[in-house]
């Protein structure tokens, strides 16, 4: 029996809450990246602080110290880490959004 028939016969309802939880679980793991000797989550907070440092043109050399997800202070090169995290964030969030839209249409 294919799964569509199974769902129909069981009169099962699509659970949007579970779909949301599953997507969060799935894409959270994809947002993690090891770079420059630390482990980072490409989230809005980390990107925002990197972007604000990158905007400070008087920073020379362009490095700073951030606390990574293991709570270790890591000296990082701001621009390259910002670029890596932004690229990862955009690709993962685009995928997340696309799958969310697909699941949102299910009934």
């Amino acid at each position: 029996m294919d799964t569509k028939t199974l769902i129909k016969d069981a009169k099962a309802r699509f659970s949007h809450n579970s779909a949301k939880a599953y997507l969060k679980e799935k894409y959270n793991s994809k947002l993690i990246i090891a770079e420059q000797g630390g482990l980072w989550r490409a989230d809005a907070q980390t990107i925002a602080i990197l972007a604000s440092f990158a905007a400070l043109s008087n920073m020379n050399p362009h490095t700073t110290v951030l606390i990574d997800t293991f709570d270790n202070p890591v000296q990082v090169e701001v621009t390259s880490l910002l670029e890596s995290l932004t690229t990862l964030y955009n690709s993962v969030m685009t995928e997340w959004y696309a799958e969310w839209k697909e699941l949102e249409n299910k009934r």
Binding site: T3, I7, K11, S18, A19, E25, I32, E99
Partner: protein
């Protein structure tokens, strides 16, 4: 006895599989190995016994035969799950991913674990599919929360060796630790033994880099998983299904309401072996 074809392999998957009267663990290991090869690009070594090895049909990278410790009984049947500590000695790889055979790989996510630690990491938190905020498991009400031996990444190093030696020590004195930590010691559990071993090596503190920074996703009770298509292996190549329908019996006021969700490209662990057999067979 060991049959090795490739030398100088630096990274790979290690699975333990001993057939029981009820379940064909070797078949599960083959399913796991095919997926490890497809999604992680890693070879797989199987640790098994002489009898189970005769049922192997997959072309494993290595087949390592060991004498199984049958001194563990669950539901009136022999459950061979002891000896996980041998992973360190028996792994032919410098960097090893030890997986339970019932872990369904659908993505390359596990490759990231090699970047997280120089020695060892495993899961310390779980999530149940369709049962959000399920409580974490504890060894007992006044002991540690359980770590999980379902996925272990280790690199050959002094520290990883110490962890596996501690695991052996805990296994050999399991009832003693069960007594100290007030959990039921009758059935040996790798998860509990690993929890205690890692705590001992870390001086009963937490080292955050020992923990994989996302949850281990289980398919728990009242939940079924169905593969949306079968895996196919023929002369045209291999096709792997990565889409599954998860159905959950939501009990409210003595009535059950079926709920479902579809998932894709998402790794998960199935505790129920009958469910796993259903997925393997499409």
């Amino acid at each position: 006895m060991e049959r090795t074809r490739k030398q100088e392999i630096s990274r790979g998957v290690l699975v333990f599989a001993f057939n029981s009267s009820k379940y064909n663990y070797v078949e599960m290991a083959e399913y796991c190995a095919r997926r490890a090869s497809r999604f992680l690009g890693l070879p797989t070594t199987i640790i098994t016994d002489e009898e189970s090895a005769e049922t192997i049909t997959y072309d494993f990278d290595n087949v390592v035969i060991v004498e199984p410790d049958k001194n563990n009984i669950r539901e009136h049947q022999v459950w061979i799950n002891k000896g996980r500590y041998q992973a360190y000695e028996l792994s032919p790889y410098e960097e090893t991913l030890v997986l339970d055979v019932d872990y369904v790989i659908n993505s390359d996510t596990l490759l990231k674990t090699f970047d997280f630690s120089d020695s060892f990491c495993c899961h310390n938190r779980t999530e149940m599919l369709m049962y959000p905020n399920a409580p974490q498991e504890y060894l007992s009400s006044y002991s540690y929360n359980s770590l999980w031996a379902t996925v272990i990444m280790f690199k050959k190093s002094t520290r990883a060796k110490q962890i596996f030696e501690a695991l052996e020590m805990v296994q050999n004195n399991y009832d003693h630790y069960a007594n100290i930590h007030s959990f039921v010691g009758g059935i040996f559990r790798n998860d509990y033994a690993l929890t205690l071993a890692l705590k001992i090596v870390n001086g009963h503190s937490d080292v955050r880099s020992d923990y994989i920074p996302w949850n281990l996703v289980h398919v728990g009770k009242n939940t079924s998983v169905y593969a949306d298509a079968s895996d196919t292996f023929d002369c045209k190549g291999e096709e792997f299904n990565t889409e599954f329908t998860v159905m959950f019996d939501n009990w409210k006021n003595s009535k059950v309401r079926k709920e479902y969700v579809t998932i894709k490209d998402f790794d998960f662990h199935i505790m129920n072996k009958d469910l796993f057999a259903g997925i393997m067979n499409g």
